[in-house]
């Protein structure tokens, strides 16, 4: 495809796109346009159909109705190959890379080439990455890469295949602030080169800083398209959720209670014998939300699992009200009142059974409460209805398999069930991962409510803006070590970003 800046055709024009999954209408009559040399932000609540829509452009799904025009011509995109041929490339929220291969192989394998693997592929990719001023070692295996590097590989892969229309699905969700800035510079460069870019994001400040226009989706319909320069975050939020909203997160001021969880010199080893958590010590108090920040894979998952009794403790101790929990089974730990809701990257991997409905998923925790051999579905159904109502879960009914719910609603079900167990410690990891504003606020409110009840909350998060507003203190993990615990009120995002990469370390003394 040739790029012509005087080209008046839209790079992409969607007219009346529809797509349903079962009885759920993911996309309902959506219109959207994007020009070459333009960055369009696609904004919408969870389950509003953003990812579904983009998956149809990249050939993963096929629309039930409507038409797609690329550079003025009507096209039918049946497969990712078709999309590639049309110059459309998508960076998925979950990277699609082969871990055991090098960056260069991941980039070049889909392209044209002879029978044999090209010897100069590393040089070729090096040159390509320098052209767009990326930093990438083409011979590095993907499994050894940081999230940011993997994302670079994904973008380069598209450029290598000659993509001129780029779709990025929540590209900043896993990046540090510094990495995000770098990505935006790259995107601005590509825009200058004449690429059309669609970026899906929840973060309004990013929409404001990177996009030229914003298209807002609401409940599977395209509501409106506005020029970024002529709007503001409040208006965008209102369009997105359908009603005005207070944007700042409430931080409930509570009396700090007793020490409820004391982690002392905790060291954890993975199955290869590498230390994933090194001599970590911290305290969690009643009525406090302690944030845990860090680049993905800094040991957050292992820390959560160790506290929940799922990961063997190598050295050190985890004390719950002065009681060592080492050696206790996960069930005993739950009975103590420690509850974990871990939202893994694939959302369904831990905690919920995808093919069961909401009621049965509630029963996974409640089935023990009743004696005898028969299960008690009535109580579970009441609980399910309560969770659906209080956390505003969007579902046809409580008997829908959770697999069919959108990501945010799955998360609400999980968190709702954990809160219903009436815990005294809540460990929540990535509770708002990929969630829209409305759902996120429902979850923040739920956590604040728990905090007021005197619950200690360990909040493993990704979005530093949110953590700064919601948490009382923030602990930063870097390569399994604590690089600092700071008061949320007295720190900045940039400083946290530096701690995350351990460019600075917070001394023990200025902890308070």
């Amino acid at each position: 495809m040739t790029i012509d800046n005087t080209n008046t055709n839209y790079a992409i024009e969607l007219k009346g796109i529809c797509k349903s999954f079962g009885t759920v209408k993911a996309n309902d009559n959506i219109d959207l346009t994007v020009r070459f040399g333009e960055i369009l932000a696609l904004l919408g609540e969870n389950g509003s159909g953003k990812t579904t829509l983009m998956n149809m452009l990249s050939g993963i799904y096929h629309p039930d109705g409507g038409s797609i025009y690329v550079d003025g011509n009507e096209v039918s995109i049946q497969s990712p190959e078709d999309a590639k041929r049309l110059g459309i490339g998508m960076v998925h929220q979950h990277f699609k890379l082969v871990d055991v291969m090098t960056a260069a192989d991941n980039i070049t394998l889909g392209g044209k080439g002879g029978l044999f693997v090209k010897k100069d592929r590393f040089k070729e990719i090096k040159e390509l990455s320098e052209k767009y001023s990326f930093e990438l070692d083409p011979e590095k295996l993907v499994m050894n890469m940081s999230v940011s590097e993997k994302q670079t590989v994904e973008i380069l892969k598209l450029m290598y295949n000659g993509a001129r229309i780029l779709i990025l699905d929540e590209p900043t969700a896993v990046l540090t602030p510094q990495e995000t800035e770098k990505l935006f510079d790259i995107l601005r460069n590509m825009k200058k080169e004449g690429c059309a870019i669609i970026i899906i994001t929840h973060k309004l400040n990013e929409v404001m800083s990177i996009s030229d226009r914003v298209t807002i989706l609401h409940k599977g319909k395209s509501v409106q398209t506005v020029n970024t320069a002529e709007t503001n975050p409040n208006e965008l939020t209102e369009l997105m959720v359908g009603h005005p909203m207070q944007l700042s997160i409430r931080r409930v001021e509570c009396e700090k209670g007793e020490n409820i969880l004391h982690v002392h010199n905790l060291t954890l080893e993975n199955s290869d014998g590498a230390e994933v958590i090194k001599k970590l010590s911290f305290d969690l108090y009643e009525g406090e939300i302690l944030g845990v920040a860090g680049v993905a894979g800094s040991g957050q998952k292992e820390l959560c699992e160790a506290i929940a009794g799922l990961y063997p403790i190598k050295k050190g101790a985890v004390l719950y009200r002065d009681m060592n929990i080492e050696g206790k089974t996960p069930r005993e730990i739950i009975d103590l009142g420690i509850s974990m809701s871990f939202i893994p990257e694939d959302r369904l991997g831990m905690g919920l059974a995808a093919s069961l409905d909401i009621v049965d998923n509630m029963m996974l925790k409640t089935y023990r409460d009743k004696k005898g051999i028969f299960v008690d579905r009535v109580t579970a159904e009441e609980l399910a209805n309560k969770v659906v109502e209080e956390l505003e879960v969007k579902t046809p009914d409580v008997h829908t398999p959770v697999r069919q719910l959108s990501g945010g609603n799955v998360q609400k079900v999980l968190l709702g069930r954990e809160i219903a167990a009436d815990p005294s410690v809540i460990i929540t990891a990535y509770a708002v991962r990929g969630l829209d504003i409305n759902s996120s606020y429902t979850i923040y409110d739920a956590l604040n409510e728990q905090k007021e009840r005197g619950v200690g909350v360990l909040f493993i998060g990704e979005d530093l803006d949110v953590m700064l507003e919601l948490c009382d203190r923030i602990m930063v993990l870097c390569h399994g070590q604590c690089s600092g615990i700071v008061e949320a009120k007295e720190t900045t995002k940039e400083y946290l970003g530096l701690l995350m990469t351990a460019s600075v370390t917070e001394g023990e003394n200025d902890e308070q």
Binding site: F21, S58, I60, Y61, P80, E81, K84, M90, H92, F95, K96, L97, V98, D99, V100, M101, D105, N106, L109, G110, G113, G114, L115, F116, V117, K157, N161, S271, D272, R403
Partner: protein, 323 residues
């Protein structure tokens, strides 16, 4: 010394069908298909190869036929698993039963039509003869260069497969499909076709392994139960060889050695005084040995912590529209 040379020679001879089976299964598993039906594929190939060799006296056609019968079995598997997304393990087990019955059914018809025996010409063609010059090297010549022609075929196929995986783009694409089909799909690689092609090629190679068993091990006479578990050993050997067909050459040699040990144990006992206890061990132990080792390999490899070399998606089917 002669005992050792003879033993090594016999080990290679006995290891060759395992090498065919293992190479075939490596190609199959690299595409993400855990085909447990190797035993069945080998039975089908054994019959297909023997029948054509018996009818036409043409070794080339016989091997082609064995490959096609193996492919037929792999096609059944592929259709069920790739197109209909059936459970891989169940389908593989069903294929084993099917292939075993297939060979028995048609083999029985052969037997009833008069005792099926390969012609003089065929047995001559398949006999072991030293390669000129190389075969005359002391010891090595006997161990390595005095085999029947199919032994070399197996090694050549194993090396070609190894080079294919390592140096070619289709080989790399195959790896991508087996490791992460979603990533391969997003790259624009046709996942289903890649799986079909390689499962069929794998089936063809397994089928040739079956032909080796019926043509060479059977001494020219058809036997309904000829494969007798060697397909299963091949599946275990894939793990032992950590999904490399070059390593499989040595792996099959080791397993071949265990297989022939039962008939060679007495030779060792009489040749070396300190090994005389070998003749006192009941023969049943020796018959059991390869299978015990197979079980041992599976236990050790599943206990081994850390990264396995198994293609990450092996055993699971790929759905594009999954959510």
């Amino acid at each position: 010394m002669n005992t050792i040379v003879n033993f090594m020679f016999a080990a290679i001879k006995a290891g060759t069908p395992l090498l065919f089976g293992t190479t075939g299964e490596i190609v199959t598993q690299k595409s993400g298909n855990m085909n447990l039906g190797v035993e069945g594929l080998m039975y089908m190939g054994a019959f297909g190869g023997f029948f054509i060799a018996y009818k036409t006296d043409n070794l080339f056609l016989a091997m082609i036929s064995a490959a096609l019968f193996g492919m037929l079995g792999a096609l059944i598997y592929s259709f069920l698993v790739i197109t209909l997304k059936a459970n891989q393990n169940v389908t593989g087990l069903a294929l084993t039963t099917f292939g075993t019955g297939f060979a028995s059914f048609f083999g029985e018809m052969l037997i009833e039509g008069g005792s099926p025996k390969l012609s003089q010409k065929m047995t001559e063609l398949l006999s072991e003869k030293p390669i000129p010059v190389l075969g005359e090297i002391p010891f090595i010549g006997k161990i390595l260069f005095s085999h029947n022609i199919l032994v070399y075929l197996a090694i050549v196929i194993a090396l070609i497969v190894w080079a294919y995986m390592r140096f070619t783009r289709p080989g790399m694409k195959l790896k991508a499909v087996g490791e992460n089909p979603a990533a391969a799909d997003a790259m624009g690689i046709n996942v289903d076709i890649t799986k079909y092609v390689h499962t069929l090629i794998g089936g063809a190679i397994c089928g040739m392994g079956g032909a080796y068993i019926s043509l060479i091990n059977g001494n020219g006479i058809w036997n309904n139960g000829c494969v007798n578990g060697q397909g299963w050993i091949s599946v275990a050997l894939v793990i032992f060889a950590s999904w490399s067909s070059a390593k499989a050459i040595f792996g099959s040699l080791i397993f071949g050695a265990f297989t022939v040990f039962q008939v060679r144990a007495n030779d060792f006992a009489s040749e070396f005084a300190f090994l005389s206890f070998l003749s006192k061990i009941p023969n049943a132990i020796y018959v059991m040995l390869p299978f015990v080792i197979t079980a041992g390999v599976l236990i050790v490899s599943s206990m081994r912590s850390g990264g396995s070399d198994q293609p990450a998606s092996c055993g699971t089917n790929y759905y594009r529209e999954e959510r």
